[in-house]
């Protein structure tokens, strides 16, 4: 059965709308932070991007495990889509973080544990996507990238806990207890906005992967023959 694009497109539209509302709230309505002032408004896109990057890569991990257990192609399609989305969100996360780091830390980048483990995450999953592009056999590609995804996923909890395990320049995780209640709504709206956006995009990107694989695995088209009558084709049974 071929998947419909209507539901993922609706999710993308809903996500984009929420992201616009949350961003407007964060930029125009929410108060500035006591020490960081207006620069703290970057948090409303940076923190939801971080949560969703890790969530997308966790979904990729789940897809990899499900593919290895079931051998169902839908999991390989979702794995490819979720890894690509996770890499895009992680790259975006690094760019936003770098922009935030300059006015607060005085540098664009620092080899601090959180930033270093995030860079490792980007390169590991980006490398798996590159590996997929070089493997022609769909079965080998699916199995290898599932195994590689499971190995690379080890870095995701390390990224999350790095600020607790090591002395980091980066602040600890943002939770309702560590963030003022005035900042909750734009943060939550943007978090759900990016969540719906990536779920919709992963749904559409998985369809791209399914179309491509169908093309790869389809038998070659027969050469064109001279037109024959229906009676000949059906063996004269009609």
């Amino acid at each position: 059965m071929r998947a419909s694009s209507a539901r993922p497109i609706a999710l993308v539209a809903l996500g984009a709308a929420l992201l616009l509302i949350g961003s407007w709230w964060g930029l125009a309505k929410a108060p500035g932070e006591v020490f960081m002032g207006d620069v703290q408004r970057i948090m409303y896109v940076h923190v939801p991007t971080a949560w969703n990057a890790m969530l997308a890569l966790t979904f990729a991990f789940v897809c990899a495990v499900c593919f290895l257990f079931t051998n169902a192609w839908k999991w390989d399609n979702r794995l490819e889509a979720a890894m690509e989305m996770g890499v895009v969100l992680s790259l975006l996360l690094c760019m936003q973080g770098s922009i935030w780091a300059k006015p607060t830390w005085g540098v664009w980048w620092d080899w601090d544990p959180r930033l270093t483990t995030t860079a490792v995450m980007v390169f590991a999953f980006g490398g798996i996507l590159a590996l997929r592009a070089f493997v022609d056999d769909p079965v080998k590609r699916a199995v290898w990238s599932s195994v590689a995804c499971i190995v690379a996923f080890v870095d995701v909890p390390i990224v999350y806990f790095s600020v607790k395990w090591w002395n980091s320049l980066h602040q600890a995780q943002s939770t309702p207890q560590t963030v003022s209640s005035a900042f909750h709504w734009p943060l939550r709206i943007n978090a759900f906005g990016i969540l719906f956006l990536w779920i919709g995009l992963v749904g559409l990107r998985a369809q791209v992967a399914a179309h491509r694989r169908r093309g790869e695995m389809a038998p070659p088209l027969p050469e064109k023959r001279p037109a024959t009558s229906r009676a000949q084709v059906t063996g004269g049974a009609a």
Binding site: V34, F35, G37, I42, L197, H211, A218
Partner: protein, 47 residues
């Protein structure tokens, strides 16, 4: 020195602009790839 960051709107605008550009570009690329794959599938099915 108060320890409070003054201004910095240019960084805020840059962060939101980067977010819009990256997510917008990726969404566009997914829609274009899906359209192209569907068109290719239809061509193969009709040939």
């Amino acid at each position: 020195m108060s320890g409070v960051i003054e201004g910095g709107w240019e960084y805020v605008v840059a962060a939101y602009a980067v977010t819009a550009v990256v997510l917008g570009a990726y969404a566009t690329s997914v829609f274009l790839r899906l359209r192209s794959e569907k068109a290719r599938g239809n061509t193969e099915a009709s040939s």
